[in-house]
Amino acid sequence: MLALSIKNLTKTYSNGVQALKGIDFNVESGDFYALLGPNGAGKTTAIGIVSSLVNKSSGSVKIFGHDIDTDLEAAKSCIGLVPQELNMNLFDTVLNIVVNQAGYYGIERRVALQRAENYLGELRLWDRRDDSARTLSGGMKRRLMIARALIHEPKLLILDEPTAGVDIEIRRSMWEYLRKINKAGTTIILTTHYLEEAESLCRHVAIIDEGRIIEDARMSTVLRKLQREVFVLSLRDPLDQAPSLPGFETNLIEECELEVAVNAGDDLNSLFSALADKGISVISLRNKANRLEELFMGLVEGKQAPTGGKELRTS
């Protein structure tokens, strides 16, 4: 079953800007789907059309089989939206914001109050239920928008940069919560500028640029397209210069920190053998850049992302 099916969707704004130039993509029910792209690529326009905030110019959108042109009420009932910008009455209380939203979806107040306790509790906002939304911190407001989007228990949750401006602790707790509701069956579409977030959470990724989909595949398939990855190794003993390792590019960042570029197809065992041959002991290893970020930059800019300020030495 497709949670979302978009065919040849176009949008030209009244000022002549063509935000979408005929995009197609499908989201399977239960998927965790990343929609990525640079600013102005058309992500928010696409989400706006799916959630009825933007009129489309042409094309079709079906949500769990409900066409937004012919069956809008049923289509809307399936969606929960967490928009990029705050769109709540900041003078209203946390509880009212969530319970009123439930009312707009036809949920009786008695039921809405029970659900509000659950969702606000899960998102650690229940204690603030009687406070006006303007008194909440930025992270709390974001969580409130998630609670509001979930109150009618939608089958498809769309999050447009939900963790923008949120500190790492709250971001990670939000990731954990999103994983939990996805595991429970909610299909999730996520746009984000934190590519680490997309790589960590999503099983499918589409990249949109200048109003066109330029990549649409399983996350693992997309990541396999990376030509090389750069690792940063922490060394036990300091080095004077970057060692020459056959088949690998190296760069000494600091005396105990070595950058090594590993091409696709090469294995790390041969890297460690080469390091062992040189008597170099490795304490830890990490990716220099997020893998998806490198791929994203490559696709959007038509080239692989830069690997660092210095040239890597090739042996």
């Binding site: 326009t45 905030l53 009420e73 809307k76 969606i79 009455n89 009312g103 707009y104 979806y105 009786e108």
Partner: protein, 257 residues
Amino acid sequence: MNFRLNWIGFKTLVRKEILRVLRIWVQTIVPPAITMTLYFIIFGNLIGRRIGLMNGFEYMQYIAPGLIMMSVITNSYGNVVSSFFGAKFGKHVEEMVVSPMSNATIIMGHVAGGVIRGLMVGGMVTIIALSFTDLNVEHPLITFSMVILASTVFALLGFVNAVFAKKFDDISIIPTFVLTPLTYLGGVFYSISLLPEFWQKVSLGNPILYMVNAFRYGILGTSDISIGYAYLIVVIFVAGLFTMNLALLNRGIGIRE
């Protein structure tokens, strides 16, 4: 259309609107109470004594229905325009737009909120009026139905204003330059029989004249115009403005890109 969903949505909107009016009562309830008290003291009590009878009634009695109706229509209008424009400005109109609630329900919920505020203020002004003069309601059904219909018309007009408004200035232009002059020239303070024939005919083009006179007829039993004609005009306005608002929302004007 899912009736149950829309009924719950309607109740939610009405509840939200009532809470909004009560939360900001200093802005919504107190100012019309002060203004109308001043009208009763200055026009009714001080100046009115020198005017004498108007259509056979003391001036204070004559203007009381007009002042009540004036407060009802300005508050019905003001409630909807500020609430819906506020929702647009704060972007929380999106909460309604993304929901499956129909556009007709969104309009009716806001209009009901406007009517309720109009009735709350109208009731309060009536209490103030009763402290200055006696009012015996001659035709309760006409009185009640006309106040509901008139406040509905102006709540719907307020919605149109809010849909088109892009900045705060836009929500004060219509009340200042259209609503207030029409109200003052709509027979609140005088009978149009006092005007020269030409201005009497011009006054008949003012819809507020019909509402004020029908309401006055309901309370005092006197009117400058035909009551049947007043109902016809008000019902046409309600139907026309509701259809217009629905067409605007269905096209996404003011609420969608």
